[in-house]
C-alpha cells in the first residue's frame, strides 16, 4: 500500500514548552491511525504542522509526494482537515459555506453538485442547510466541519477530535462514516475515547509531552498491558489464601491477587509474566485440585491501562 503521509523528525516548541519532540510516523492508504495522548501532549500541534497551518522548527512532512513546506498548495489539495473545535464561518449557512469550499477546491458544474449532494447525505446535514451556522447545535457544527473536510474526496483525512461533543448516536454515525471511507484513504484522527481506537482505528500512536511513546495495532498495544493474558478466576472455596498461594507459584504467573473473598467465593486475578499465555496451566491445576469454578476468563488487556502506563511515566 502507498505511504500517503510521512512525518519525519518533527520538532516544535513554544517558548520553553516542547510541544512536539522528534515525532516520526507514516500512514498508508487504507489505514486509520488513532492519535492518542493526554491533554497538551502535542496532538493538535502535530496536526497543524502536517496540514501546513504551522511551520515546524525542524523536520518534514510529505503528503502523497508533496512536501508541506516546499509545495504547500499541492500538498493541501490532497488533504481534508477538521481543525480542533471545528471552527466555521458562523455568519454563513452550511450551504453557502460548502459552496465556498467547493470553489476553492476547484470543483465545478456537475461534479461540484454531485460532491456537495453526496457530502450532505453522508454527514446528514440536509435539515440545517439554510440555517446560519452560528445558530446550529454543537453536533451539527461538528458535522458541517466534517462535511467541509471530505467534500473533495481527499486521499488524506486529518480529523482533530471528530466525535468530541457528539451524542452516542452521532458518534456511532461518524465512526461508521470514517470506517466506510477507510479503504481508499489515509486517515489520522485524534481522540480521547479509547473505544474509538478499537472501533475505527487499524493502528494507533501514543504521544506524551511531545514524544512518541507507542505505535501499534490496538491488539499490539493491548499486549503491553499488565492485564494482557491475565486470568480472572472465581472459585468456591472458603480459604482463598490457599488458592492464591498455589497459583502464584505456577510457571508464567507473575503474581496472584485475591480480589475478594466472601460467602465462600474467592475471586482472584493472576497476572502473567511478559503477557505469556497462562490459562492452560491454570486450568490444569484447577482441575487437579477439583476446585469448583464459577468463572474463569482470560483478559485481553485494556487500552486505558496501557495508555496510562505509557503517558504517566514521562510526567
Amino acid at each position: 500500500m502507498d505511504t500517503l503521509v510521512s512525518v519525519n523528525n518533527l520538532h516544535k516548541h513554544f517558548g520553553a514548552i516542547k510541544a512536539v519532540d522528534d515525532v516520526s510516523f507514516r500512514v498508508n492508504q487504507g489505514e486509520v491511525l488513532g492519535f492518542l495522548g493526554p491533554n497538551g501532549a502535542g496532538k493538535t500541534t502535530t496536526m497543524r504542522i502536517i496540514t501546513g497551518f504551522m511551520a515546524p522548527d525542524a523536520g518534514s512532512v510529505t503528503l502523497g509526494g508533496d512536501d508541506i513546506v516546499d509545495a504547500p498548495v499541492a500538498a493541501k489539495r490532497r488533504v481534508g482537515y477538521l481543525p480542533e473545535g471545528a471552527p466555521l464561518y458562523s455568519d454563513m449557512t452550511p450551504a453557502g459555506f460548502l459552496d465556498f469550499v467547493a470553489g476553492i477546491r476547484n470543483l465545478r458544474g456537475k461534479e461540484k453538485n454531485r460532491r456537495i449532494t453526496d457530502t450532505i447525505e453522508k454527514t446528514n446535514i440536509q435539515s440545517v442547510l439554510g440555517q446560519p451556522i452560528e445558530t446550529l447545535s454543537k453536533g451539527f457544527k461538528r458535522r458541517v466541519g466534517l462535511a467541509q473536510a471530505i467534500l473533495h474526496d481527499p486521499e488524506i483525512l486529518i480529523l482533530d477530535e471528530p466525535t468530541d461533543g457528539l451524542d452516542p448516536n452521532q458518534k456511532h454515525e461518524v465512526r461508521t462514516l470514517i470506517r466506510g471511507m477507510a479503504t481508499e484513504k489515509a486517515i489520522i484522527l485524534s481522540t480521547h475515547i479509547l473505544e474509538e481506537v478499537d472501533s475505527v482505528c487499524s493502528r494507533a500512536i501514543v504521544i506524551s509531552a511531545g514524544r512518541l511513546v507507542g505505535d501499534g495495532t490496538p491488539t499490539e498495544l493491548r499486549a503491553r498491558s499488565r492485564w494482557h493474558n491475565a486470568v480472572t478466576l472465581s472459585v468456591r472455596v472458603d480459604n482463598g489464601k490457599e488458592v492464591q498461594a498455589t497459583l502464584s507459584n505456577l510457571p508464567g504467573v507473575q503474581s496472584a491477587d485475591l480480589v475478594s473473598q466472601k460467602d465462600g467465593l474467592a475471586r482472584l486475578v493472576l497476572y502473567s509474566t511478559h503477557g505469556q499465555s497462562i490459562s492452560t496451566t491454570v486450568n490444569q491445576v484447577v482441575r487437579e485440585r477439583n476446585w469448583a469454578v464459577d468463572e474463569l476468563y482470560v483478559e485481553q488487556g485494556r487500552l486505558d491501562d496501557v495508555f496510562r502506563a505509557m503517558t504517566s511515566k514521562l510526567l
Binding site: R48, T51, G52, F53, M54, P72, V73, A74, K76, R77, V79, Y81, P83, G85, P87, L88, Y89, S90, D91, M92, G96, F100, V101, G103, I104, R105, N106, P132, Q148
Partner: protein, 244 residues
C-alpha cells in the same frame, strides 16, 4: 485567480449577511451629507462643484475605514477560522487580496450611493462632471490606501478594538503629514528635503490634486504603491503570525 474570486465572493456577501453593510452605508452617506451641507457650506459657496463634499473624505475615512477593516483578520484569528482558511489550497497573497478587494468593492458601493449629491449639484448648476469623476476616483483610491493599512494592522491582533485604534492613528499620521501645522513644525528646524518628503507622504496633498480634477500619474502611483506596500506587509505578517 479563481481562489481570489472565491474569497472575494465569500467576503463580499459576508457584508450583507450582517448589519455591517447597512450600518456602514447609512452612516457613510449620512455623514457625507452633514459634512458637505453644514460644515462645507455646500449651497452658499455659489459654486457648482463637489469640492466641499470630497474635502471631508479623508476625515470620514479616518475612522470609518478602520471600523470596516478591523475585522478583516482579527475576527478570522479570534474565531479560529484562519486555521480553516490557511489549510485550504490557497496562498497568503490570494487570501489577502481577496479580502482586500471585497472590502474595497464594498466602500466603492458606499461611495456610489452618494449619487444624490451629484444629482443635486447637476440640478442646481452646471458642474464639470469630469472633475467630479476624478474626485470619485481619487476618493476610491484613498479609501483603498486606508483599507490596506487597516487590513495589515488587523492581521497583527485578534482584538478588533486595538486594530481599530492603531489603524486610525496610522491613518491620521498619513493624513496629517501634509497639514500646514505639521509641516510648519518640521520646517522650523528640519532640512527642506525632509519637510518635502513628509509632505509628499500625505494623503491630503495627493488627494487634493486629484479631487480638483488633476489626474496626475504620480498621485495614482502614490496611492497604488501605498496599497501594494501595505498589502505586502499584510501577507508577511500573516505568514509569520497566522498560527499565534
Amino acid at each position: 485567480m479563481n481562489n481570489i474570486l472565491s474569497i472575494f465572493k465569500r467576503e463580499f456577501m459576508g457584508y450583507f449577511t450582517t448589519p455591517i453593510a447597512y450600518v456602514f452605508i447609512v452612516i457613510f452617506v449620512f455623514l457625507n451629507g452633514i459634512f458637505a451641507f453644514y460644515l462645507g457650506d455646500f449651497f452658499n459657496r455659489g459654486q457648482a462643484d463637489m469640492a466641499a463634499f470630497f474635502a471631508f473624505h479623508p476625515w470620514l475615512y479616518l475612522f470609518l475605514i478602520p471600523a470596516l477593516a478591523m475585522r478583516l483578520w482579527a475576527e478570522e484569528r479570534r474565531e479560529a477560522t484562519i486555521e480553516l482558511l490557511f489549510t485550504l489550497p490557497i496562498t497568503m497573497g490570494q487570501a489577502v487580496l481577496g479580502k482586500f478587494l471585497a472590502a474595497w468593492a464594498f466602500t466603492g458601493i458606499a461611495l456610489v450611493l452618494t449619487f444624490p449629491m451629484w444629482g443635486t449639484v447637476n440640478y442646481l448648476g452646471d458642474p464639470d462632471n469630469g472633475v467630479i469623476l476624478a474626485g470619485y476616483i481619487g476618493s476610491l483610491l484613498m479609501a483603498g490606501a486606508f483599507l490596506a493599512i487597516g487590513s495589515c494592522i488587523s492581521a497583527l491582533t485578534r482584538n478588533q478594538v486595538i486594530a481599530f485604534i492603531i489603524s486610525a492613528v496610522v491613518g491620521l499620521a498619513f493624513v496629517l503629514s501634509g497639514f500646514p501645522l505639521v509641516l510648519d513644525f518640521f520646517s522650523g528646524w528640519a532640512p527642506e528635503i525632509l519637510v518635502q518628503a513628509i509632505g509628499s507622504f500625505s494623503f491630503l496633498s495627493h488627494f487634493d490634486a486629484i479631487s480638483k480634477g488633476v489626474i496626475d500619474l504620480r498621485d495614482m502611483v502614490y496611492f497604488t504603491s501605498l496599497i501594494a506596500f501595505w498589502l505586502f506587509a499584510n501577507v508577511v505578517i500573516i505568514e509569520f503570525k497566522k498560527a499565534e
